[in-house]
Subunit: 190 residues, 2 copies
DNA sequence: CAAGGTTACTTCAAAATTTGAAGTAAGTTG
DNA sequence: CAACTTACTTCAAATTTTGAAGTAACCTTG
């Protein structure tokens, strides 16, 4: 729609514009996946990137709202994402960097705020005293649990049947591929 | 992997971790889509969100690099995304807001910088003098074209065969669904 | 047609996030 | 042990995002 025609593009079915969330038949895309859709528009690299940016924005504001509901105001949504990334295992800052492709100084900054808020504990590793071991505290686990509870409703809406599950799975894997392609390109040059 | 077991989650095949970009058989997922994968882990709402966040970060840094290569330093990657969102049609600020789910003041800020850099023109609409009509200038179109050229390489890597195309299509549509679900939840409350 | 409301945007200041350069301290290696 | 690397932290600056408060044009309704 936006881009002009170029080689190596991705075709995507149109008319998924103003559909209600309650029902979304086009997305389910039962048998259509194996033939070319009738009306196709072109989605490039950038269309995907823009979509991802938009969805990310949406999610961030959703998370902000959830956290406001929970009365959390000492850390922001970005810090909550880091907390969720840590999960229930003890790990080092380096491992955390890999998990989110954060920049080091960025994580340091977030961890400081999470530690100040009492959401995580930092313990210097016995083995390697440079390496800080990070663990979610009781309070942090409580926040995660509350957020997961709130998220359950979305999981139920998003994953209603086997088709939904398959599509979410494919979306997840495809995003992972994008992550690798874009990441490698950044490191080694296309 | 991170979250504890909860109802209404999404199953996703594991072991797509350290695969080369050059070949990515798991992603192609030819016939597996219709049966349950052998090894499954759980992906929640938040796993997806974290993936999206990571991929978005990756893309932003890629775009930053591309722009540095092109010698663009008067606008940042966020402004470039807005430029790409405008595309080759003339539209109003309001329409642009819809395209990217931006916040009004945010777009205003970006448009100001894009206008200062000579990438867009703003003309007050004849019909409604409140409404500013936005159009990409020659210079702006040049930047878009350069970015699209650079993006062509990624399109070729990402969309190699019919399976890739189908998966990218499904990913795009699924992201769109996420966008709607999360967006509606934000507006009307789950 | 004028008062009051709405729409379409802009401006501004403050906050949040992200970057990048420089630092520190602990390991590692020759 | 000196030099290098690793693992992280700190700090200042840039960028991005928010939210409140404008402004001007449009649209009612009396």
């Amino acid at each position: 729609m936006i881009q002009t025609l170029l080689p190596s593009e991705v075709e995507v079915e149109t008319s998924i514009g103003d559909v209600e969330v309650a029902d979304f038949p086009e997305i389910t895309a039962k048998k259509q996946a194996h033939r070319h859709p009738a009306h196709t528009v072109v989605v490039t690299h950038f269309e995907l990137a823009r979509m991802i940016e938009r969805v990310n924005r949406r999610f961030a504001s959703l998370l902000r709202t959830e956290m406001a509901k929970l009365g959390i105001d000492d850390v922001g949504p970005a810090q909550a994402m880091v907390l969720l990334a840590i999960g229930d295992v003890e790990l080092s800052v380096g491992e955390l960097l890999d998990r989110g492709h954060y920049v080091g100084s960025n994580i340091s900054y977030y961890l400081k705020q999470l530690a100040d808020g009492g959401y995580i504990d930092r313990v210097a590793s016995q083995r390697d005293k440079r390496s800080a071991r990070i663990r979610v505290t009781e309070k942090g686990e409580q926040l995660c649990a509350n957020l997961r509870d709130a998220g359950g409703a979305y999981n139920r809406i998003l994953a209603r049947d086997a088709d939904d599950l398959r599509n979410l799975e494919i979306a997840f894997q495809t995003l992972h591929r994008l992550e690798l392609v874009w990441g490698n390109a950044a490191r080694y040059g296309i």
